[in-house]
Every structure is written in structure tokens, then in C-alpha cells.
Symmetry: C2
């Protein structure tokens, strides 16, 4: 069966917007012999994963779990559980993933008010607060680390405005979790989701997520059932809660991999990990400055794990795509292009999880210097 063999895939240095490279310890965990999804041994691993995710999210939320889908499934889970048809919702849009939230909320029948930010800038707290005051939403949602622009969104003021107005708050932590501080309880976030293939350095396929007691109560008090059976957190609570009754078959191997990745994060310590991401991101911006790449985002709002850079003006149209392809083909280095309105205009360079190291930065800089010489 030609074409399906996976015997010898090439080695890549994955410096795009995710997935990031996976440590051999995590790869070994993925390859462990299979266990049943109700096996007591597996359930104790799952207990540990849920506890580890609580620490990582900075929360005591009982309903903290790895959802059986990618980060986009996590986004959908948060929105379709917490929104009912006709519910007013305010969504902050500072890039493609804020846009995606709007689309998901629309499909849930919500009455959407969106607050836009120019690509590469943050959502203004005042604009969000004004929209919240005007529309009295049941839910406010925005993105912590906008993967399409590389912007780090300040969370606390918006979350406070939302809570003061009686709204629940949903936060997209897809690219931040495991690389930036995430403190759901201290910030007053009611639901958050992430993805395994960014700063956790697991394969893509799971969405760590967390729901506050208020969020769980909102779901319990719904007038109409959650439109998704698969993502209904009330049903998921039967398996991912204390009862451990069957809902769907959990993705065992992926969860074993996540368990190992969480163990590695605890060994390193979150503070050291945050500093490692910060240092790598700074070195990248500095190094690429010398090659004519200028950051899209001003320094104080820049993500350390995902840097967006304007393609040098001297590049001919299409040249940036050819250069990315040469980096991949000649050096095995993947970097990301722009998404949506920024396609062709920026590069997105990820230094996530395992890859947030100076060695990654130097590999890329050296290859780029040679190609641009």
C-alpha cells in the first residue's frame, strides 16, 4: 500500500504555530501497550492528568479534563455548553481565532456583539467594557494568546468587567497554556480551553479544558440541551468526574502522552518554563532584526512563544512562501506563514514547549542567513 508507509518520516524542527516537537519521553508514552478506558490503572493516570491540568490552569475546578478533540473542539465545547439560542454574547476579535469564536457562537444561535482590534494589537479593555455594559451579555469570550497575530492579551480587566455585569467568561488558552502564566481562578475565568500541540509539546488531538462551578451550574440550568452530545460537559462529567462511567471511549494513548508531558512540566517547574519561553522569544526577535524582519506587535504585547514578523519589504510577492519551503526542504525547519488577512505579509515563528530554546533560534537564524546571503 504505497504512500501509507510511515517507516521513516523526516526529522523536522517545528517552529511554526504548532505542532511543536514532541520529547522522546512523550513519544514513548504514546507507544505504550493499550489499556482499557475503564481499567483502574488507566483511571489513575487520568486522575493524575486532571490534577496536573488543574495546576497548569491555576484552578480548583473539579471539571478540568482533556477533551477528546483538538483545540477547536475545546472552543466549541466552551461556547455550545454555555450559550443557548438567543443569548447575548460579547466576543473580542483580534485575529483569526477570535473570528472563529464568533462563527461558533453564531452557530449556537447566540446574539453576537463583537469588539474588534486591529491585527497585531490587543483588545482595548475600555471597548470591551463598553460593549459589556451596553449589551449585558450572558457570556464574554476572548483569546489569551492570539495565534494568528502573536499578541498577548491582558486578561484581568476584561474578565472583571464581564463578571461585574454578571456574565461568564471564556478564555482561549490554546497557545498560552504551558508557556505563559495561566491563572483561571485568580483571573475569574469560567471556562478555558487549550490544545496539546503547542506549549505542552504533545501531539495534536486533545483539548485540555476547565469549567468553573458557575459554568457547570449554567449548563445544568439550560432550557434546551447542549446541541453537541459529544461535547456536553454534563454528560462528560459522568466519565471525567468521580463516577467514571462510560460516555465515549477516551483517547487512551494521547492521554498517556499528555500525562508524561505534564510530568515533565512539573519537573521543570512552571516559572522556569515561563522564563525559558521568554528568553527564547527575545533572542528570536533580536536575531531576526538583523535580517530585516520587524515584529508585528509592540514589545509589551508580544507573545514569547509565537512571534509574528513582517516579511522584509524587499521580498518580491511570493518570495516568502518560497523561502519557507526552502527552509523545510533543505534544513527541515518549519516556520508558519500569515493566516487570514495577514497571509503573505507576516511569518509566524513558534518557540513552543520543547522548542523554546536558544538552539532552535540559532538553527533558524543560521539557515536564514545562508538562504538570504
Amino acid at each position: 500500500m504505497a504512500g501509507v508507509s510511515t517507516a521513516a518520516p523526516p526529522r523536522r524542527l517545528l517552529l511554526g504555530p504548532g505542532p511543536s516537537n514532541v520529547h522522546p519521553r512523550v513519544r514513548r508514552a504514546l507507544a505504550q501497550p493499550m489499556l482499557g478506558h475503564l481499567d483502574p490503572v488507566f483511571l489513575s493516570v487520568l486522575d493524575g492528568v486532571q490534577a496536573g491540568l488543574r495546576r497548569l490552569f491555576g484552578t480548583q475546578n473539579r471539571m478540568t479534563l482533556p477533551l477528546s478533540g483538538t483545540g477547536s473542539a475545546g472552543m466549541e465545547a466552551c461556547l455550545v455548553n454555555l450559550l443557548e439560542p438567543g443569548d447575548p454574547v460579547v466576543i473580542g476579535v483580534a485575529g483569526v481565532f477570535g473570528e472563529r469564536m464568533c462563527e461558533v457562537a453564531r452557530r449556537a444561535g447566540a446574539r453576537l456583539t463583537r469588539v474588534d482590534a486591529e491585527p497585531g494589537t490587543i483588545l482595548e479593555g475600555d471597548a470591551m467594557a463598553e460593549a459589556i455594559a451596553c449589551t449585558r451579555p450572558r457570556l464574554v469570550a476572548f483569546v489569551h494568546a492570539e495565534t494568528s497575530t502573536g499578541v498577548a492579551q491582558p486578561v484581568e480587566a476584561i474578565a472583571r468587567a464581564a463578571r461585574d455585569a454578571g456574565a461568564l467568561v471564556v478564555l482561549d488558552c490554546v497557545t498560552s497554556l504551558g508557556g505563559l502564566a495561566v491563572e483561571l481562578d485568580a483571573w475569574g475565568i469560567d471556562a478555558a480551553y487549550s490544545a496539546t500541540q503547542k506549549c505542552l509539546s504533545c501531539p495534536p488531538g486533545l483539548s485540555p479544558a476547565s469549567f468553573s462551578e458557575a459554568a457547570v451550574a449554567r449548563v445544568r440550568a439550560r432550557r434546551v440541551p447542549v446541541q453537541s452530545w459529544y461535547l456536553d460537559i454534563h454528560l462528560l462529567g459522568g466519565y471525567f468526574g468521580s463516577e467514571r462511567v462510560y460516555h465515549h471511549t477516551a483517547p487512551i494513548s494521547m492521554i498517556l502522552g499528555l500525562a508524561e508531558a505534564l510530568a515533565m512540566i512539573e519537573e521543570e517547574g512552571m516559572q522556569a518554563r515561563i522564563e525559558r519561553h521568554h528568553g527564547a522569544g527575545e533572542a528570536l526577535v533580536e536575531g531576526l532584526h538583523g535580517l530585516g524582519f520587524r515584529p508585528l506587535v509592540e514589545a509589551r504585547h508580544r507573545l514569547p512563544m509565537l512571534t509574528s514578523l513582517r516579511v522584509p519589504a524587499r521580498f518580491a510577492p511570493g518570495e516568502e512562501a518560497g523561502l519557507r519551503r526552502r527552509l523545510l526542504d533543505r534544513y527541515g525547519i518549519e516556520v508558519g506563514g500569515g493566516l487570514g488577512r495577514l497571509a503573505g505579509q507576516i511569518w509566524r515563528i513558534g518557540l513552543m514547549g520543547e522548542n523554546a530554546r536558544l538552539t532552535s533560534v540559532e538553527s533558524l537564524l543560521s539557515a536564514l542567513r545562508r538562504e538570504l546571503a
Copy 2:
């Protein structure tokens, strides 16, 4: 981080209703270094997976893909894409998974007519045809291999009645695919879904699925958007079609594992694989007869890969659960209990994929003989 270590999980012989054991070749594929989801090397593996799934499903459907969720996500994908609010639907219910289809269809706003079969029996073609004639549904859905009872449902007559009435047909192939013949095109099925952890012997986490041109056209002609952004097959077609544009990040490692499992199926040949499942299933029923376990399902409607057996009448209440636990703790053998109405009354023994071998049967029989001596 105690409790999260996955260093040395126990070895299990997984003879429950799934997951089944995963071959070392597939486990090795899972542990391959990570690739980007737009990497040309990964995209060529994905091409091969989609082609392999078409052969396995017996279809030319272009829209054949591994959905990024478990089998239940596949069920939801088929129903929420093809049903709009108010659509009449006929669903055959011969067990828990038919019930689940009803619940998913209800949440999609469909007008549901259900046709029930006693647990352990098939859906009667006449009853289905009558319901179809009376209600003129837009969709008819039923289960090929009902995992909660072990019944193999004859497909063709029901599919014909549905198509004659102008309805699309959805078939649950979760437990059949890779162990029984599945011929979507010959049978006239418009949408089908499966799961990787049954007869494909991959880890749980992906749902192979396929949609006919008529199904894709139905989605294109919808009046309201698909309620799920994550599972919208029109959007998924951007990535899993010829364009390969980003929708969500595909679960790379799981797809590499599936590629290897599909390669192994092609090496064995589907006919040999079907016969292997058949032989193992027969030997199991015969062996357990001697220990007082009687099949729930009459011989001609029995699934080879999942056998449901009445717990011997001499067992005290709760004794069957204790015996299953001893099989797991002492011998590392997992077998399944009853689900839903059949809890406590039956065992469900899976001989799926890698495990459909006489050695599995003999291991179980020998352990049971010792425990029951």
C-alpha cells in the same frame, strides 16, 4: 508528580468491546517524530490514509477521512451535517448505540421516528420499511454492528427502502469496519462512521468516516449552517480535500498510527481478515458453551468480533462483575459487561483486529476454567 507516571503500565489482553490491543508496528508509528499538519510528507501520508479508508469502506467517496474525534464524534458528524431542524428522520434502535443516534438527532432538532428491536435481535426490515413509507424521512440511520448487543444488522433491504423513498442513509460501522465486509457503494450508504480502536486495532481517538456525493450536496444545500463548526464537512473538505487548507490541526500521530494499521490490513487482505474474525468468534462461542455461557444472539445474526453471552444463571448477583475484575487483576484479561438494559446480565467479549485469534480465545477460556473450577 505521583500518579501521572506512565513508565510501566501493565500488559493487558483487551477482550472487551474496545479498545483492542495495538500491534507494535502501529505503536512505533505513533511514536514517530512530529510533523507539521501542512508538511508535504504528512499530507502524502494523509492521502494514503484517505485512499486506504476508501478501500476499507468499499467506496469511491471523495469525502472519506479520519475525523478528529472518537466514534461518537463520527456519529455526531454524520447526523448534524445531514439533518436540519424539523427534518423527519427514521432511526433503528437495537441497542445503546441506536439510542445514542436518537439523542444526537433530537439535539439537531430533527423530528424523530424510532423503530425498536428487542435487545439481542435485529431491526426487522419490514418495520423499518413501514416507518420509512409512513414518515417520508430525509434521513434513515441505523447500526451495522451493535456494540451493546453483538448483533450484526442486515443492511441492504433497509438501505434500499430508504433510498426508494428519497432518504439519505447513515450507517454506524464502529465495530464492523476492518472485521466484517463493509460495502458502502454497493449497499447505497450515504454516510458512515467508524472508530479506530475496534477492528482497526489503533488507539481510540479518530473516527474514519465517509460521505457520498449526495450527502455532500445535501450539506451544501442546507438552509441553516451545520450546528458544529468543528465537524462541518463542508469546512473539513478544505483540508481533507484537494486544497489542504487549514481548518483545525489534524491529530498527526494518531493518523500516522492509522496509516500503519491500514497498511497491515492491506498486507493481510480483507478476506483473510474477515475469515480470521469469523473463526475466532466461532471458537469463542463453542468454548464458552462448555462453561455455561449462552449467546444472547441467534447464530445467523451474531457478530464475529463482539460476542454477547448471558451470564450463567447460577451466578449470584454481582458475581459476574467480581469475576471480570479477577480476570483483569490476576490474568490481565479485560472483558466487557453489559451496557444499559443489559448491565449485569451479559458479558461482551471482543475479538477485534489484532485480538481475533485462537490464542486470545484459549487464554480467556483457560483463565475462566481456573476461576470457575
